[in-house]
Symmetry: C2
Subunit: 148 residues, 2 copies
């Protein structure tokens, strides 16, 4: 799958059928998409809720969605980006859309669960969580050309 | 929670209530339990199935269970261990049993889902998967004093 925002990467991930339940790949230290290990955490998104907007000044996100279906929207307003002004929408979830999504610093993102089940995001970041490097905007901000 | 097998570590993890769904901690690079980043993957365990037994010669496991309830059993037959011969049984899952479990190399482990929902294990290992360093024994081996 091609990315339309500079620095955003999307990689198909393998689901390995196994007796008793599948094994789902996510990220290896020898992957070209791996940078460094900062923190690993989950964010659950309940049906009918939207978590938006957020961006980081230094942190790179590695997202996979092993449970549920997630719609995620990215927006690039970086002054120095070749894709400035671009909105990118994608779906993450098993089985067809099981992918690794890398979101670089300074790209806005927001997400919501599709369907009636919660979606679980696993995020493996390149730096440990620092509350001072995250920034938020309200869902309905005029500064991002996307309507949830 | 105290561990009874030498080198096994168990740490309570935080669940942070958040509008739209909780954030679940798992592992940070500055945690005393972090060693190095090797690979991040998921293993799903369907109800009624048991995945056992397995051990690694070099790889350390960091397990958390963000979805479902897992019963996990560990067995130590390391000749050089102070806890040789010990069986350890624990439950991992939200909310009361949401914990990080570190399983060192050479300790046997097996697990099954509790209840009627699949359990999802997230494993963050200290080396990338190497098919040559894992070893298996059948569920009903006489060499491990545990009956599933």
């Amino acid at each position: 799958m091609k990315s339309v925002i500079e620095g955003v990467e999307v990689q198909d991930l393998r689901i390995i059928p196994t007796e008793g339940g599948p094994v789902l790949h996510m990220l290896r230290a020898d992957s070209p998409l791996f940078r460094s290990f900062g923190e690993l955490y989950f964010s659950e998104v309940e049906p009918g809720h939207i978590k938006a907007w957020k961006r980081h000044s230094r942190q790179t996100q590695h997202f996979a969605v092993p449970v549920g279906m997630l719609k995620i929207v990215l927006y690039d307003d970086r002054a120095d980006s070749t894709s400035r002004g671009t909105v990118m929408e994608l779906v993450l979830g098993r089985p067809e859309e099981y992918r690794l999504l890398c979101i670089p610093p300074r790209v806005w993102y927001g997400f919501t669960a599709l369907g009636d089940q919660s979606a679980l995001i696993c995020n493996c970041t390149d730096i440990p969580h620092d509350p001072n490097e995250g920034e938020r905007r309200p869902l309905d901000t005029d500064e991002i050309p996307y309507h949830w």
